[in-house]
Amino acid sequence: MSQKNRLGTGGRIDRTTPLKFQYNGKTYTGFQGDTLASAILANGIDVVGRSFKYSRPRGVVAAGAEEPNAVLQLGATEETQVPNVRATQQELFDGLTSQAVNGWPNVDNDMMSWVGKLGGKMMPPGFYYKTFMYPKSLWDTYESMIRKAAGLGRSPLENDPDTYDKVNQHCDVLVVGAGPAGLAAALTAARSGARVILADEQSEFGGSLLSSKELLDGKPATSWVKSAVDELAGCADVLLLPRATVNGYHDHNFLTIHERLTDHLADKAPVGMVRQRLHRVRAKWVVLATGAHERPLVFSNNDVPGCMIASAVSTYINRYGVVPGSELVLMTTNDYGYQAALDWHDAQRKVVAIVDTRQNPQGARVEQARKRGLNVITGSAVIEVQGSKRVSGVSVATIDAAGNKVTGAVNRLNADTVASSGGWSPVIHLSSHTGSRPVWDDKVVGFVPGPTVQKQLTAGGINGKYSINEALSEGVLAGLNALAKLDLPATEVVLPSAADMVEEASMTLFQIPHLLPTSKAPKQFVDYQTDVTAAGIEVACREGFESIEHVKRYTAMGFGTDQGKLGNINGMAVAAKALNKTIPETGTTIFRPNYTPVTFGAMVGRDCGELFDPKRYTAMHKWHVEHGAKFEDVGQWKRGWYYPKPGESMQECLDRECKATRDSVGILDASTLGKIDIQGADAREFLGRIYTNAWAKLAVGKCRYGLMCGEDGMVFDDGVTSCLGDNHFLMTTTTGGAPRVLEWLELWHQTEWPELDVYFNTVTDHWSTLTISGPNSRKLLSELTDFDLSNENFSFMDVHQCTVAGVPARVFRISFTGELSYEINVQANYGMHVWEKLFEHGKQFNLTPYGTETMHVLRAEKGFIIAGQDTDGSVHPHDLGMSWCVSDQKPFSYVGKRGMARQDCMRENRKQLVGLKTKEPKVVIPEGSQAVFDPNEPIPMTMVGHITSSYYSANLGHSIAMGVIKGGLSRMGETVYYPQADGRVIEAEICSLVFLDPKGERQNV
């Protein structure tokens, strides 16, 4: 059976280009220009899915973004799987592979439907809140059963082969939607030279005109569309974006557009192409010309495949040359709905009846239908549909003028298709993204955009203006308004016009009455995808869920992937009726981004994998790699962690590096330390306010260690700052803390002390920093410089400018190891040269490279803290035993002074940083271990501190640790215990933090 529903002529498809595609493992043919849905319908496929809760068979209902049922799995290979693609929005391509997402063994015969049929009655909204509670122990089992039913499509299990881009755009006017209103708005704006972006989610511009048979100035509407698009394409500052959904409208007229560049071509983007792009648009003005979605009516069994919205029937016939059935019954509350029957009839298939809920309709389309001899039944409704996998017939009955009850006998008609039209709902989604509340319009019988603070205009269907002439003129008006606001001159736009049709008021009706009350009538679906019925909404209301938000949440209405585009207004109407309120009284409907779902990859763009976060390398990185270094991530930096020799374990390597440094000389690449250049007449004053210690007297050429605290008095960063000139300082920070510290300085300067004359500039990567440390470091350096390195001329905490290895350098004599040390700073790209020179001359001293781990051990032997490791935002300088680094003599205060003086910060018995020596010298206490005084206390135990740093020290021949202990500074010599996960309890003695060279003689030689 090939394309049994395809018409011989007509439509915007190319019958000369047949395309093969797969659905559920079978191969079918469609044509270029088809959507997957139109091709499925052309081939006479009825069932495209199973409903979520009741496993009822479902067919295609709509032709666009509002489709709730035809949600398929796409992808020919594992890596190209895409879940939940709406068939109505997927263009057909040759080789497209698709599958229904539910149904076992298949979507046509789903075993789960028996559960739905038998158990469905026991599944009112929220039934899961009322059961599965007893016995408590069975909940996990219940839940795993519930979970089995979860989900529509599936995630691929292999990585995405495609790439995605992001583009930033600016424009004067962004026009959303390229139907008549949007095209007119874009033309109006573009003719005046405005920068315009026109975006439409469909493959072609034209919107409703693409499936309309109306004439504009006597010619097919599509020929006007073509001339309009051609003209726009010829404008220099117009960007046309088809296949581009504006999916989010954010504050300050920032919108995102999800453009699909290759999804219509192949499974995977052709070589050299990007699959999708995300445009981030800042628009001066936005014109929303997003049209309207037709509302289906709510009646019994309205979900049987073959039930469709009327306009979709027309679209399939007129745009795709597909008649989705043989015998049509149309039910409508309005004149527009008739078009489906007219088109059906013109396609030479049988219109069984037009059932109009109005008592005495006489509009132009009604008369056209009568003229064609169609059977128009008025004052009646389709109260129920027969059939399971396809409509087989309908029950029609007369209803009262208000549409509340069935008034007459029921007639059965045979039919395989039921089109329904309950009127139209403006597509107000984008407007409500920004927080603007939609307002109900009785005339439109729908919500229209409410007041907004955005620079937003609206035109056409979104305002409830549905005729082509109105849409066109509203579009021009919006364009003119935008131009006026932008102060751009307007050019005249002459519009074509369509024949005016006499149109009568539609009937305000959402739910069709049944002979039985809603609770007993066969299911009347409101939201297909989430299986919400009118009876379900009534139950929710009856139970006291009265706010529409409660109704939605309790029933799950609107929570599907279509976000309730078809169902929400109907649902509100049903709720309003149940609560005896008007629709606006039950609340309004809030839509959130995304308008339609957006690929994760498109939101990520290139910013993952390698480019997730920049990697920062020092100038000597290559050398480290070549010498087998292991690296550690610190902030964005790759830092050398340790340099194992072949066959060496980590501990052996560290032992070697540590010993070599203390015995002779080691070298560390310290380039990653944050460096901030601080200048200005008040630089010194500023430092005094930011650091806890005094800076007033630091002489030019001298360095000083400083602690920085938050307002709460807790240590936040540390480092050495040196005085390069009276108004010029160089601050160093921790590697990871550098960006934070710069922000901190700027924050205080800009918000609290703007009167201070001081400037900050990050210079971290301007310099390479090579730290040589150890008793032979002076000898080594003297080989590369003529500068007098004697202790008298270049003493501890001095900085000097000199030449090292022929390169200008700033050398700091500071020490983080407690050894004689020099930090050689050279312009970054000289770093490798000097590094290599040092190794050339360092051979004789067994110069040993060491990484961050050895640095940690060596500084721990000296009891020097690492901010962020030995501090955690809860310790102040006194807790660290660093009262010497806090000055209360400063005339101005400093950040943290007041915080530190609070009662709790002054109390005894705070956790204080101390050294810890294990009873077993070789045992290293795991970092993070919690301390207790009484190892036999039952759980919960009283914890008195924890280990912050812990190592084996080869120089000392035993393990060393740093940690905080309650009142630790006055508990020297006492024993604490560290219970471990494996049951061990490690015993340690509280001792001084300084394990080596307590007098500090080694660094002063």
Binding site: Q81, M122, P124, Y129, K130, T131, F132, M133, Y134, D140, E143, R147, A150, G151, L152, G153, R154, S155, P156, L157, D160, H250, D251, S519, K520, A535, V539, R542, G544, F545, S547, E549, T561, Q563, R592, N594, T599, M603, V604, G609, F612, K615, D633, D712, M714, G736, Q869, D872, G873, R902, Q903, D904, C905, P926, G928, Q930, P940, M941, M943, P979
Partner: protein
Amino acid sequence: MQRYSGFGLLKHSLTHHENWQRVWRNPTPKKEYDVIIIGGGGHGLATAYYLAKEHGITNVAVIEKGYLGGGNTARNTTIVRSNYLWDESAHLYEHAMKLWEGLSQDLNYNVMFSQRGVLNLGHTLQDMRDIQRRVSANRLNGIDGEVLDPQQIKEIVPHMDCSDNTRYPIMGASWQPRGGVARHDAVAWGFARGADAYGVDMLQETEVVDLVIEDGAIVGVKTNKYGVIKAGRVGSVVAGNSGVIAKMAGFDLPIESHPLQAMVSEPIKPILDTVVMSNHVHGYVSQSDKGDLVIGAGIDGWNGYGQRGSFPTIEHTMQAIVELFPIFSRVRLNRQWGGIVDTCPDACPIISKTPVENLFFNCGWGTGGFKATPGSGHVFAASLATGEMHPMAKPFSMFRFHDGALIDEHGAAGVAH
């Protein structure tokens, strides 16, 4: 109260579900209550429930400006865990965890508390030190927790990229098997239904617009709908709006209100069985029983009361998720939204007396208060009932910002939610 059970469902299906009772009444307010709770979120409703159930105080009103549970309770990503670092918070959240473990039965309302475990990933050596420290503290506090290596993580989350080829390879994780997620709306509704059954009045669509304070003590609240309603004690539980109520009371709180966003994918077949959180790449994800991937990250940096955040935050979050799960790149994002979270400088809540007598505050839960809902309500109810703070609530006094006794969960635990 009509009891719920599978049998009940069967019975009601025979009468077409026409006889279900209301879950709560729509009461006309009395002139005076013993206790008024401002804010009908999870915490406020839990407070009302426990006041009635545990303390026999039933002359209580919950005043909610919108619909019950429509604030952050309705917007959060429902992660529940109790593996906090400091004793004070660990005890409070573990207290909540224990209540969670019997909540569905206690309320006779299935809150779908699903203990599928929570992983907090570590990507740097310092992350791992912090994880070791937190798990060590948890264990000694009697809270379940383990430190896992990448291989063990892979066994639990087979589809996550646990390889070395990522920008920040996963080095390990903390694992709390008892952690998980719950159905947020059900929590609010279950507490509301329970409280209503004891006679608590739930006044929806009613905003507290001022406080009535006489001689330094609160005696009632002024509402937009019913004028002044008197009260013996008042508990304010309004999350992101706490600063507004504090202003009515004439004091300042050290709370900043920030947008916090969350998002869900389209529903997909089950692929992720636990909650995965990463502070370092900065995102977290779980999969709901419906199949949605539920995703979130950190706050938007600025202050505000609009329940919307900015797009760059969303982009960054999605980058983190795809970095952790590259296979999700072709999955699609369905919906995103925001709430307003009340963040405290030390990332811990305020459960406290205030400078105004008989006015109590419960707020500052920031990005992570859902998990505390039953515990918070329980200790707050005890405090409102007796007029003295429950021992577990005491450390969370608002005066800690004066005396410095902060409970800084930023430093070592760092992970929000």
